[in-house]
């Protein structure tokens, strides 16, 4: 690993914070997507269809 100088701690924490936040954001978006997909699948399994999706 390279030498980040006397302020290494700030650089590391900046990147760690950004990585954690971006990772959390990606997870939140994916979890939300999965939950909604499951909810939609459950509804369609009950036989509900949109008017525009003609059988």
């Amino acid at each position: 690993m390279m030498d980040l100088g006397p302020h290494a701690i700030f650089i590391i924490w900046a990147y760690v914070g950004v990585v954690v936040a971006v990772f959390a954001l990606i997870c939140a978006v994916r979890i939300d997507a999965r939950r909604v997909a499951r909810r939609l699948a459950a509804l369609e399994a009950q036989g509900l269809r949109r008017r525009s999706d003609a059988p």
């Binding site: 700030f10 900046a14 990147y15």
Partner: protein
């Protein structure tokens, strides 16, 4: 839903059907994820291993590579929201509602990150985590506005009605944010005659600009990917809510 290729409408009207929009953009998602990953990989490599330290700021210049893209996104996302708000108000474009709603939490996170990295950059360079200077203060106000808009989205039950009302408020914000920026600048120069910023500063050498540009595009593509994904989710959520309403109506 499959792509409707028989329609002879223009693309603008065709993507007005949310299902069609989702079908059209679904194949774009994974290539965009790939581009984003590559950009981050190359950008981080340049940021840490292939760029010199700044002669004034030393190694802390590396914080800039995450700070500047987030600061840019904090404003860019609001522009996206304001354009979508226009789409809602002028054309009543159904996708504009979805885009507006999906962008708000992303904008809030990027703005918070801009503040966080700014504070960590400020400590070694200015000697303080928080300085009430114009740029940091107006970014903070922008974050508050994002949070207000998110709170507003959560407060409404009827999402169609919410979209139009929030579009009005988003545009009020778009008019007001430059005024806030100006007033905050005026205020900070009044209260601290000696500016903490170097005026102008030397132009950046290419060795610093290359990682900056790479990270800039990496974060922008990250936003595009997440925005697209969140829009798809929102479209599906609306479809599910519509089905639930119809099911409830059939029971009644």
């Amino acid at each position: 839903m499959s792509i409707d290729s028989k329609s002879r409408q223009g693309w603008f009207s065709r993507i007005a059907h949310p299902g069609q929009f989702a079908a059209w953009t679904q194949p774009l998602l994974w290539p965009l994820v790939g581009i984003t990953t590559v950009l981050f990989g190359v950008g981080l490599y340049f940021a840490f291993f292939n760029s010199p330290q700044d002669y004034q700021m030393g190694e802390t210049v590396r914080i800039m590579y995450v700070h500047v893209p987030n600061a840019w996104l904090s404003q860019f996302v609001y522009v996206i929201m304001a354009v979508s708000a226009l789409g809602t108000l002028v054309w009543r474009h159904p996708l504009a509602d979805v885009s507006m709603k999906a962008a708000a939490p992303l904008g809030a996170v990027f703005t918070a990150l801009a503040l966080y990295t700014g504070a960590l950059w400020g400590r070694p360079t200015w000697g303080t985590f928080w300085e009430w200077d114009g740029r940091m203060t107006s970014t903070l106000v922008l974050l508050l506005i994002y949070l207000g808009i998110i709170a507003l989205w959560r407060a409404f039950d009827d999402q169609l009605r919410a979209a139009r009302v929030i579009a009005v408020f988003t545009l009020v914000g778009a008019v007001n944010i430059p005024i806030i920026k100006f007033s905050v600048d005026w205020w900070s120069t009044l209260h601290q005659p000696a500016s903490v910023f170097r005026a102008g500063g030397p132009t950046m050498p290419p060795s610093i600009l290359i990682p900056l540009f790479l990270m800039f595009f990496a974060f922008t593509f990250l936003f595009l990917v997440l925005h697209l994904k969140a829009m798809h989710t929102e479209i599906r959520r609306r479809r599910a809510m519509g089905l639930e309403r119809r099911a409830a109506g059939a029971l009644a």
